[in-house]
Amino acid sequence: MHVLVVEDDRETAQFLQKALKESGHVADLAEDGEMGQELAEQGNYDVLIVDRMLPRLDGLSMIRELRTKGMRTPVLILSALGEVDDRVKGLRAGGDDYLTKPYAYSELLARVEALARRSVPEEQETRYVVDGLVLDRLSHRVTRDGEAIQLQPREYRLLEYLMKHAGQVVTRTMLLEHVWDYHFDPQTNVIDVHVSRLRAKIDKNFEKPLLHTVRGAGYTIRDGPA
């Protein structure tokens, strides 16, 4: 995956470049908004990671300009401003996701990978399939090896989100944001409890586990080891 990091703090930028490389991605760096805009227009990137406060041209204006020119590459906004209204402003400017500094790299990686997936033309998938687990988005039915699994509405949405990102790591905050539409830091293991309930329903009576915990990061659904 080809990523452009627009970040004026050199240490942060280099840390990201190195970390992304270790995760198997290629990252270019831009130091200010103008350079970022130029590179973004020339290169064929899968995801842009844009700091909100940049010299010369601030991050939101840069994104706005790129969007006006018709560029649809997904953008993850990084910001020290983390209130709800800041997030709303960021997304309104054309960002696809918003991450508040300081962040855990695992969180950033998970979000970047989830975004990159979206840039593939989203054909209206009506079924998600992982091994024997099938989620039918039209009938809202879930089966594993042909056996029907009864899920609560929220459990269904949780599974739907995990399966949409099958093979990728999904963090707890991503789940809280997308399944529940909440933006806060839980002090309890509330997400783990919901995931383990879901796991009890989809994995318990089967030999091969599909829903895995990724230590220090989150969860993933995949056919094979985590």
Binding site: E83, T100, W180, H183, F184, P186, T188, V190, V193, G216
Partner: protein, 466 residues
């Protein structure tokens, strides 16, 4: 201060200007009144004189008709010398004087049939002219008769009256200006005390307040308001000081732990030990970040920064959703989780913040009620009540509760009771709830649940629903 400068200052004040304008308006009005008065006085006096003259003219005409010219001459002669105030002149067709006490025929009267005003000299010696009113009387046979009255007395009276009026106006002006000046000086003095207080506060004397005179006037009201404002600023500042002290303490402790764990990891050998040490370090750093974020959020909320994210939503729905999120957590810990929430009550505000507040209350209840004595009858109850103009969100537990004397205190930032210091947490949860409540015009109340704690979060209902 030099006198001219003081005068300049007094003149440039608003109160002086107001006084000056008032005086000017009053003067204009008074001048008008005086003018009308003088004119009217003159008119009345003149018409009186004319009536008298008409009467006399009739008598003399009658005399001339019955007795002829000789009788008229006699009558005029008698009247002229009787010491009465009348003025007469009788002349023949050739212009010779026949009788009367006027030395000559005043031409301005003779030619004017309705009479008029003229000047004459009563005695030849002084030649001093006096004012008189006269009318010509037609007695026929070519005779010219003038009947008049001396009005010098009246003229003098009128002019004296005028002088008095104008003097009065002058005094009025002077008095008004002096009063304006005096009022402005008083005002200046009062304002100067406020300025002096402001200067010394700016110079650093934060405890200084503006003196309230006790008269209850506008200046007192202003001083009282300014003092109240200063109190509020003072409270905020000491709050800030307290917070920074607490930050120093509460951030230093985890920072020290962070440093310790990094150092400890360095002393270890082997990849597993390093890894564990680093993971531990990151965990500590995350705690710090959480504290920091909550602190910023509380600070922003207390500063009233709710920028246009208000929406109107069914608060019951929102509370239900949050409760649904946490129900499994409580159940997992063997707690009874009761939710008695009706939908249909609407609130206007920032949904995410209200969610955060409710989450904090539920997380607190889960954290403190279940764990304490490993009890198996732990219970959390969530209620929503329609109370007058407000909605009350009630989260109650049957845990250890909070002693009555501590209930106010725990709402403050970073206040953690001894029992809970060892629990994970930032000490900002309830402060945040309070900040959210206040931002929306609501409040937080801690009550005894006998046993346990009951937290009541009050939010004003959406206006249309009240």
């Amino acid at each position: 201060m030099a006198l001219p400068e003081r005068i300049t200052r007094a003149v440039s004040t608003t109160s002086f200007r107001v006084a000056a304008i008032t005086v000017a308006a009053y003067l204009a009005f008074a001048g008008l009144v005086v003018g009308v008065l003088l004119w009217q006085t003159n008119r009345v006096l003149t018409s009186q004189v004319l009536t008298t003259l008409d009467g006399e003219a009739q008598q003399l005409r009658a005399e001339a008709q019955s007795g002829g010219t000789a009788a008229l001459v006699r009558a005029v002669e008698t009247r002229s010398t009787s010491g009465a105030p009348g003025l007469y002149y009788l002349g023949d067709a050739e212009g010779r004087k026949l009788a009367g006490n006027l030395s000559r025929l005043p031409p301005e009267i003779a030619s004017n049939p309705s009479g008029g005003v003229f000047r004459y000299s009563p005695d030849i010696v002084s030649a001093k002219e006096q004012l008189a009113v006269a009318i010509p009387v037609n007695v026929g046979s070519g005779l010219q008769l003038i009947v008049g009255r001396d009005v010098e007395e009246q003229r003098r009276f009128a002019s004296e009256m005028g002088t008095v009026y104008f003097l009065a106006l002058g005094f009025l002006t002077l008095g008004g200006l002096v009063a304006g000046m005096a009022i402005s000086r008083v005002a200046l003095r009062r304002i100067e005390t406020i300025n002096a207080a402001a200067r010394s506060i700016m110079a650093g004397d934060m405890a200084r307040r503006i003196v309230v005179s006790g008269s209850g006037d506008e200046y007192d009201a202003m001083a009282t308001n300014l003092n109240a404002m200063l109190e509020r600023i003072d409270a905020l500042m000491s709050g800030l000081r307290e917070v920074s002290d607490n930050i120093a303490h509460d951030l230093k402790t985890p920072l020290t732990r962070l440093r310790n764990s990094a150092e400890a990891a360095l002393r270890e050998t082997g990849e597993t030990a390093y890894r564990e040490g680093l993971e531990h370090t990151i965990e500590k750093a995350d705690e710090l970040i959480k504290t920091f974020n909550s602190l910023l959020l509380v600070a922003r909320l207390e500063a009233g920064a709710l920028e246009g994210n208000a929406e109107t939503f069914d608060v019951g729905r929102v509370v239900c959703d949050v409760a649904e999120l946490y129900e499994p957590v409580a159940e997992e810990r063997g707690m009874d989780f009761k939710v008695d929430v009706d939908t249909g009550l609407w609130v206007t505000g920032n949904r995410q913040l209200i969610v955060q507040a409710v989450v904090n209350l539920i997380e607190n209840a889960i954290k403190y009620s279940g764990k304490a004595e490993a009890r198996d009858d732990a219970e959390i109850a969530i209620d929503l009540r329609d109370h007058d103009k407000n909605v009350e969100i009630i989260v109650a537990d049957n845990g250890p509760g909070i002693a009555a004397e501590d209930r106010e205190r725990v709402l403050k930032r970073f206040v953690r009771l001894e029992k809970s210091r060892t629990e994970p947490g930032t000490g900002l949860g309830l402060s945040l709830v309070q900040a959210v409540a206040r931002l929306h015009g609501g409040a937080v109340r801690l009550e005894d649940n006998c046993p346990g704690l009951r937290v009541v979060l009050t939010l004003p209902k959406h206006a249309d629903d009240r």
